[in-house]
C-alpha cells in the first residue's frame, strides 16, 4: 500500500467533515433542548391558544395582513369572542415587546429569517436615526 498515508489522511478529513455538525454545535453551545423564547410577564394568554400559535402563527399573521391591506378590515375576533386590533407592531409586539428574546429565539434556532422585519418596525430597535 504505497498510498497508505494519503488514504488515512483523507479518511480523517472525511470523517471530520462528516461529524462536523457535532463539533460545531458543541462549540456554539446550542443544545438539543430547543429554543427558549422569553414569554411576556404581564399577559398569560395570546390571541389564540399556544398550540395553534406554535404551529400556525404565520397563517394568522398572513390573514391579518390581507385583512388590513387588501380588505381595510382592522379588527379581528378570536374564536373565544375577544376582538383585537390587527397589527404586528401594535398588538403582537405590545406583549412580546422584546423581539430578540422572543421571536428571534425560535427563528434563529429553526434557521428561519422572515422578511417581515425588512419593513415592519420593531419599536425597540429605533434609537433615533435610521437602521
Amino acid at each position: 500500500m504505497r498510498d497508505r498515508h494519503v488514504i488515512i489522511a483523507a479518511l480523517i478529513v472525511f470523517f471530520g467533515v462528516l461529524t462536523s455538525p457535532i463539533w460545531y454545535a458543541r462549540a456554539a453551545g446550542t443544545t438539543a433542548r430547543g429554543p427558549e423564547p422569553k414569554l411576556p410577564e404581564t399577559e398569560k394568554a395570546c390571541v389564540m391558544p399556544v398550540e395553534y400559535m406554535r404551529a400556525s402563527h404565520m397563517e394568522l399573521l398572513l390573514t391579518w395582513r390581507d385583512d388590513v391591506v387588501r380588505r381595510n378590515v382592522r379588527t379581528w375576533t378570536a374564536p373565544d369572542g375577544k376582538s383585537y386590533k390587527t397589527s404586528l407592531s401594535g398588538t403582537c409586539l405590545r406583549c412580546h415587546a422584546n423581539k430578540a428574546e422572543f421571536c428571534d429565539r425560535c427563528h434563529t434556532y429553526a434557521g428561519v429569517t422572515p422578511y417581515c422585519w425588512d419593513c415592519h418596525v420593531d419599536p425597540k430597535s429605533i434609537t433615533g436615526s435610521g437602521k
Partner: protein, 254 residues
C-alpha cells in the same frame, strides 16, 4: 405494468384538471374585497388644492414633511433614486397642456403640490400583473407592498409620474423612523395612499392636517354638503391631463 398510452394520458389529464381546476376557477371568480362598515357605502374620497393659498404661505413644506415623516418616506439625495409621495412642481410642468407664453404673475414659476391623483380610471391598476395596486370602493388607489414584484409597469403606466421605486434599501435614508407605520423594502414601488390608515381612524390625511394655510381640502365627493363639493360648486377647478380619461380625484383651483 401494462397500461396503454392513451389510458395513461387520459388519467394524467383528468388528474391535472382535478388538481388545478379549483385554483383556476377561484382565480377567475375573484370576489371583490368587502369593506367594513366604517367606510360609509358610496364614499368617494377626493382633494381640492388651492395653489394660491399655498403660494401665499411662502416656502412652506409642512405637508410634504408631515407625509414623508408619517410614512417613513426616505430622503435620498440622488435625484435619480428619489422617493416622494407629495412634492412641489412648477405650474408649466403640472399642466403642460395649459402652456402659455404669457402666464399670470400669480402662477409664473410658482410651485404647485402634486401627488397621486387616485384616478377614477387608473392606468396603473390596469397594468399591474399581480394586483399589488388596485382601486378600493372608496376611490383610493391602494398599494400592497407584500405582493409587489417590482416590475415597475405601474410606473410606466402612470401619466403623472406619481410613483417612486425603491432602488435600494430605504432605511438608511430615513432620518427618524415612525414605529407605527412600516417602512418599505428595496425593490417595490410606492406612492401616496391618501393616508388610508388615518382615514380608517376618522382622521384627515397627514398633509391636509399639517397645512396651516388650508390649501388642501379633503372630503367625500358623494356627499353634496362636503367641503370638496362646495368648493367645486363655487370655484373653477382643473385636473391634470383630463384628456387621457383617467378622471383624477385631485382638483386644482385656478
Amino acid at each position: 405494468m401494462s397500461i396503454s398510452r392513451r389510458a395513461f394520458l387520459g388519467t394524467a389529464g383528468l388528474s391535472a384538471l382535478g388538481l388545478t381546476g379549483k385554483t383556476a376557477l377561484d382565480a377567475f371568480a375573484q370576489q371583490p374585497p368587502h369593506e367594513p362598515a366604517s367606510t360609509p357605502a358610496g364614499t368617494r374620497w377626493a382633494m381640492v388644492i388651492d395653489p394660491k393659498k399655498c403660494l401665499e404661505a411662502g416656502d412652506c413644506t409642512k405637508c410634504l414633511d408631515a407625509c414623508h415623516r408619517t410614512h417613513n418616506v426616505p430622503a435620498i439625495d440622488n435625484r435619480a433614486h428619489e422617493v416622494k409621495w407629495i412634492w412641489k412642481e412648477s405650474f408649466e410642468h403640472t399642466f403642460p397642456s395649459l402652456q402659455t407664453d404669457f402666464p399670470p404673475d400669480a402662477l409664473r414659476d410658482k410651485p404647485v403640490m402634486v401627488l397621486c391623483n387616485h384616478c377614477d380610471n387608473p392606468p396603473c391598476v390596469r397594468v399591474c400583473p399581480t394586483q399589488a395596486t388596485w382601486k378600493r370602493s372608496d376611490g383610493i388607489v391602494m398599494m400592497d407592498w407584500h405582493r409587489c414584484i417590482g416590475c415597475r409597469y405601474c410606473v410606466a403606466g402612470c401619466p403623472y409620474g406619481s410613483r417612486s421605486f425603491n432602488w435600494s434599501d430605504p432605511r438608511p435614508a430615513i432620518a427618524q423612523i415612525t414605529p407605527d407605520f412600516p417602512t418599505r423594502s428595496k425593490g417595490v414601488v410606492e406612492k401616496c395612499t391618501f393616508c388610508e390608515e388615518r382615514i380608517a381612524k376618522g382622521e384627515p390625511p397627514a398633509c391636509v392636517a399639517a397645512c396651516k394655510a388650508k390649501a388642501l381640502v379633503f372630503g367625500n365627493l358623494n356627499d353634496p354638503e362636503s367641503d370638496v363639493r362646495s368648493l367645486l360648486r363655487s370655484r373653477f377647478t382643473i385636473r391634470r391631463k383630463p384628456e387621457l380619461g383617467t378622471r383624477p380625484a385631485i382638483y386644482y383651483i385656478v
